[in-house]
Symmetry: C2
Amino acid sequence: MHTKEKILEESLELFAINGYEGTSMTKIADKVGIKKSSLYAHYKSKEVLFVEVAKEMVDQNVEFVRRSLDEQAPDVKTVLYKSFKTHIHDMATDDASIQFYNRFMQNPPNGLGGELTASVEKSEKQARGLLENVIAKGQASKEVTADLDATSIAHMYFCLIEGLANETTVYTLEEVERHAESVWVIFWRGVKI
Amino acid sequence: MHTKEKILEESLELFAINGYEGTSMTKIADKVGIKKSSLYAHYKSKEVLFVEVAKEMVDQNVEFVRRSLDEQAPDVKTVLYKSFKTHIHDMATDDASIQFYNRFMQNPPNGLGGELTASVEKSEKQARGLLENVIAKGQASKEVTADLDATSIAHMYFCLIEGLANETTVYTLEEVERHAESVWVIFWRGVKI
DNA sequence: GTCTATACGGCGATAGAC
DNA sequence: GTCTATCGCCGTATAGAC
């Protein structure tokens, strides 16, 4: 019922913060407000629960990128800039979904990496596809250089976001946002006509 | 003696691959070729052992950046490009030190993050300083634009490297190196005069 | 579906013989 | 310094009453 979803929600947060081995079924049960053994009525093992959460996050990643792209923005530069800022902001403000995604796409739990890699690769391709469209539009409207192909530029874009995501552990929100600002300037300098 | 160093070496690899909670003292002992209890003659706890490894990695990070900068290269563009390629290559070829660094700087074990953040921040600052010098030289020789400050450019550089590091789990060596190549082109386009 | 009780193994860590 | 033996605890997971 409603409990099953709550388990997903709460374990998402715990996995994101404490990792897979660092999150016990007892801690999840405590956070949900039930006993450990009751979890097994909804998910037959910890691995199954984790994979369920992970699959949701992979799907959500594409949706997140889609929503970050503002269709109403006046030009491609603004679309990209707004999307960039949205990503950075949500990362830096401890959004559990994004932390989960960043954490486990880079270092999946021991046996479960293989089970996820395929779907991650697919979702990253989709997300990159959305950006490629925007960039291609910018090339058509002479905002973005045609010397580079849209795929490479989209790749660079995600590379920057992931690089900045890594900083969130060490640096403060303000520092990351300031870094993001200068990173953006160089990026745009690199891709504009 | 020689055992104490071997413990550091072997646990470095295990921590890098399986994480902190995913690495047991038994597994470390097995890899070293001794019994678990013998480890405690060298390091009084798992936490102490981990912190010891982590501190070495933090120091090594600065040295790694220093060595990647070729003093003999003809111009600043070449210095940066060679350094960039060295980083990518070592990451992609499963260098345990770099994997350890990337993994735990982003997601330190639960109680030990605070103990490391300060020294990480310091070492990253030193490493960035080395790059800033190179970039400032490039600005003086009119290779690199003076519209951007050297700190921002150095920051961008590390951001790209970390972003590419994240890919190594999902993509193959060839793919990452190909991505790195186009990332470099955009980067240089963004910072050259 | 949730509970209590329990099984069983692996964990980090210590004691003490050699 | 390394071993065997052992401690106490907590991990995942199951059985069975309600």
